[in-house]
Amino acid sequence: MYAYDEIDRTLVNERVSEFRDQVKRRLSGELTEDEFKILRLQNGVYLQLHAYMFRVAIPYGTLATNQLRALAHVARKYDRGYGHFTTRQNIQFNWIKLAELPDALADLAKVGIHAMQTSGNNMRNVTSDQWAGVAPGEIEDPRIWSELIRQHTTLHPEFSFLPRKFKIAITASDHDRAAIKIHDIGLRLIKNEKSETGFEVLVGGGLGRTPFIAKTIKHFVHGRDILSYIEAILRVYNQYGRRDNIYKARIKILVHELGIEKFSREVEDEWQHIRNSSLQIDDEVIEDIRSRFTYPAYEKLPHMPDELRQAAADPDFEAWRKNSVAPHKVQGYSIVTISLKPTGGPPGDATAEQMDALADLADRYSFGEIRVGHEQNLALPHVAKRDLPALWKALDKLGLATPNVNLITDIIACPGLDYCSLANARSIPIAQELTRRFANHELANLIGRLHINISGCINACGHHHVGHIGILGVEKNGEEVYQITIGGRADENAALGTLIGPGVKFDEVADVVEDIVEAYLALRERPEELFMDTVKRLGVEPFKERVYATR
């Protein structure tokens, strides 16, 4: 866990007081909606279809239990009793009143939570691996660097009015759980031949109407230079990024139009001017940030405790354990993923009661820490293996033990037409229907790892391009039509999916997915061949044939 000190708390409180004044001026008419819009966006407030939507940052996905309880409190006091965890390590509340927002922010500030830069054309909440600090084999805890960059990009005086939004993600593991290749800047923590810590820097990834996988701009930037290098990229983007067309304003378009070689020369030139400035980070600064991350006092525990051995006789527990429990870097401990994808539920939603109860469980079983991942699930990062059976029983009672992590019903979906003013089609009902179709755990398990991603519009908040099966809702002649792609992925081998054919109607989507899955089961060479591997081996043709032969 990272502890905010008095300095961080002062800034958050100053921000709340500024926003309180801005809301007051808006309500009195002193600020026009046009002027206010950008100010509220910088504080995470959107005007949605039915009400204001409030997006709260969970930097690099780490939450303490008092913070989760504060989110539950906001859900209960200012909203309708639930919150929605998003693909950006944020939580959104959908029914908040503008006049009450400053109070909600003040309540969150008490526990060091804020909504700064969760939207708007600035540097967004820095995201990272939800297993940071506990994943076996990572280079080092990427949150130390995430926090450094979070601080540097918060209220940055040069980059708070960029051409468009800007997202940075960091991973420190071979297996990329932070989806760095679909971010404006992706950072992969590595060691060079001298064992010095640094980053491979990728740039220009992103989804939306023009999706791109990020390209490597530099193979190694030393840790001490990472702020100046990021600043150089941002400065080039701020000056040369397009502002004439909102759809072409993201850095991915600039990188694409200039070409990565020319873009990297511009950045290099800028960087040479500033790399030896006060932006250079000395070890002492890094050590200071590192010292404010506290780690649990782990016990020396057996690899296979009796409690776990005994519980293995229960097939329901075993199904959950195999699905939701991952290895931890410390012997005797596990990382437990908590699925927020119950059968028939909207992906990523949690009630205030669930959040409070989870906070209690995290206090009892996970050293008071919770993680939020971009797959819209939560995790308890330090669970002693002996506690797994008791934790499972408690989660089950809360409706939080659905054993479907990474399976076909672990669906990523944006809020879609049910909430979002940008959406052209519904996402949540499609996800709900699919979770019902594939509710049978045996079948889902037989299918194996398969990610379905659903977006209700071209902006791609549901990351449909990188779903193994991607579903994009569009509007055509007043009707919702869904385009299906296959073969996308967001991990270290990130790729964009391929369209399999014409869009299908709302009522047909679940049938089409079933067809694709049946085709896969028939086509795979052996049960271990994952959907993605079959698609890679055969291309889209056989799937296309299966889906459209009878339609």
Binding site: H156, S160, F161, N238, R243, S277, E284, V285
Partner: protein
């Protein structure tokens, strides 16, 4: 449009000239970049200060040879959402060491004052009278800054270091 300079609302001594406005005999003038670059020598010879209005899509490096001779550089925010002039301001102050008046013009609102001050602006053509009157109060809104910029304010990282050392912790 009220001008705030040195934290106070002041009279603007500069007269803005268009590309084709006849040159007044004396007095301080602010001239568009294009005209300034075309007539620099003549303009700088006359009595009165000369300032230049620099658009936010023109390379600031072109102005560098004249920085010691101009009394003011006015950068432009065509809308408050367009942040290019922030980069130009920092380049002028931090890279090119410009010490004259650096003026923010266009859509200048109180909610941007802190960012502008930190980027190096010291004069502000403020759009609304009420915002100009609230300048000092708004400028002091924040006491914590995370990034080092040319305004020399101590960053949170370095303040922590100081605190640590003064407490005798660390090292």
């Amino acid at each position: 449009m009220p001008l705030v300079n040195g934290g106070k609302i002041v009279d603007d001594s500069f007269v803005k000239l268009a590309v084709d406005t006849p040159l007044p005999e004396s007095g301080d003038i602010l001239v568009p970049a294009e005209r300034f670059l075309g007539e620099a020598e003549g303009l700088l010879k006359r009595a009165g200060k000369v300032g230049v209005i620099w658009p936010n899509n023109r390379d600031i490096a072109e102005l560098v040879p004249y920085l010691g001779k101009v009394a003011a550089v006015a950068l432009v925010f065509p809308t408050f959402r367009d942040g290019r002039a922030y980069s130009q301001a920092r380049l002028l102050r931090e890279r090119y060491n410009y010490r004259g008046e650096l003026r923010a013009t266009g859509q200048v609102l109180r909610d941007q004052f802190v960012f502008m001050l930190r980027a190096g602006f010291d004069a502000f053509e403020v759009k609304k009278q009420a915002d100009a009157e609230a300048f000092m109060q708004t400028a002091k809104r924040y006491s914590v800054f995370y990034q080092p910029t040319g305004d020399g304010r101590i960053t949170a990282l370095h303040r922590r270091m100081q605190l640590r050392h003064s407490e005798g912790v660390g090292t």
